[in-house]
Structures are given as C-alpha cells and as structure tokens.
Amino acid sequence: MSIAITTQFICFTVLSLVVIIGALGVVLLESIVYSAFLLGGVFMSVAGLYLLLNASFVAAAQVLVYVGAVNVLIIFAIMLVNKKEDLKPINDIKSRRIISTSICLTLLSLLIRVDLTNVWSLSSPQNSIGEESTIRIGEHLFSDYLLPFEVASVLLLMAMIGAIVLARRDVMSKDISTGLPVDQELIEKSSEPLLTNKN
C-alpha cells in the first residue's frame, strides 16, 4: 500500500467520522447554537469528502454556499428566535421515540444492505478526467444543462422575493381566523398570541 493510498484512507476515515458524529451532535445536542456550529463542521467535512472524490469545484461551491450562506442564515435565525421557553410535555413521547428510532434503524439497515449487495458497474479509472472536472462542469452547464441553469436563476430570484415577502412585518394587517389586528412585534410581546392553540 503506497503512502498516497494510506493518506486517502486516513483522510476518508477522519472525515466520515466527523460527518457522522457531527450529524449526531446536530440532532441530539440540547443547545441549538452548538448544533448550528456543528452543522458548519459537518458541511466542511462533506466538502473534504468531495475533494477526495476529485471534485474541487463542487467542494468550493459547498464551502461557499453551505458554510458561507446557509449556516450563517441559520445562525441569524437562531439569534432572532432564540428565546428560553418551557416546552409542554407530550404524553406519548416514549412510544414516539421508539417508533421513529426503529423506523430509522430499519431504513439504515435496508440502505446498507442495498449498498453492499448490489453489483455496481464501476467504470475503469483510466477514463477519469480527474482535475479537469471544472472545465467539464462548465461545458455541461452551457450546453446540455443550459435550460436548468437558467431556470435555477429564476428559482433563486423567486426564493429571494418570497423570503422578503414572508419575512416582512406588514404582510398581514389582520389575523386570518379572528379578524383582529396582528401585533407586528418580533420579540417579547406582552399580549397573548393571536393564533392560539386550539386544543
């Protein structure tokens, strides 16, 4: 085993351990702020996995979009809505946990079984374009994937306008169900919430 292959193995093992443990921390940790920062670590390690797969452009896009934009957006959202609140206890939380965990474990075993038993038709590594993948992605984006590329720009514009409209303060002047004017304050309002619990 040459040094390069050993290095690849070590890198892959470390990166996948960080991905799995970080993802477990994201869903299990009590503090949502720690979860958000662990999520950034998971995104960075996924970018490292992309680098192992000879895809430097996608790794850079992953770091820019996920760590630079999505994660920062999530941290800002936590900053806006992070209020200590006592969650109401759910009476059948135990059975819910058991059922969901068993469903996830069953799905995981099924997926792993498919991964291991299926015979993948691997192509020979001689055809690999390796580090020229950025050029090939550019060719794809401007020839056979031109329409999805243009549609993606329209999608981003729509998402931007939709986010602005949804997050604006004066989007609803009165409540839909009660007809009373909506209190537009974002934080720490003293009045009762208008869309009250029905149960």
Partner: protein, 106 residues
C-alpha cells in the same frame, strides 16, 4: 490519483447513515430551526451519493457533479424560504415548538 483504493460502498454507507440521522432529527426535534438543519443534513447525504456515483460510475461525463450543483442551488433557496416562514410563524405564535404548529391538524 487512483480512486480504486476507497471502495464506493464506503461513501454510500456514510451517506446512508447521514440520511437516517437527518430523518431521525426531522421526526424528533421540537425546535423548528433544528428541523431545517435536519433537512440540510439529508440534502447533504443525497449530494454525497451523487458525487460518489459520478466519480466511480460516470467518471468521464460527471453529470452527478452538475446535479449536485443544482441541488446546492435548490437547498440555498429552500433554506432562505424556510427561515422566512419560520420567522413569520414565530411572529404569530411566539414559539418555535413544532408541537404548537397545529393549525392544519384535522
């Protein structure tokens, strides 16, 4: 660089585990922000799958990498709209508890 050293199955198992962790978090979180984070985890698992297939099976045309770019685009749009919906929900309900968003419950 020879990609034969790490088997394809290793990448697939990592992405399967990540996907299942994402589903577990989606089903079990009370905090709406954590639900959005779980969705991002699941999208990343799908991306790892696409990238692994593109470099092991389709390593000349690499259409999987193009798909990954599009998935990243859609994920960014989804995160923006999702967090805007979350802010507007928080303004109406003053909570981010998933159990209290039950207006559509029948």
């Amino acid at each position: 660089m020879n990609l034969e050293s790490i088997p394809l199955q290793a990448f697939l198992i990592v992405s399967s585990a990540l996907f299942c962790i994402g589903i577990w978090g989606l089903l079990n979180s009370r905090n709406a922000v954590r639900v959005l984070m779980s969705i991002e985890l699941m999208l990343n698992a799908v991306n790892i799958n696409l990238m692994a297939f593109s470099s092991y099976i389709d390593n000349n045309l690499i259409q999987g990498q193009v798909f990954t770019i599009f998935v990243i685009t859609v994920a960014a749009a989804e995160a923006a709209v999702g967090l805007a919906i979350l802010l507007s929900l928080y303004r109406n309900r003053v909570t981010v508890d998933m159990e209290s968003f039950n207006l559509l419950k029948w």
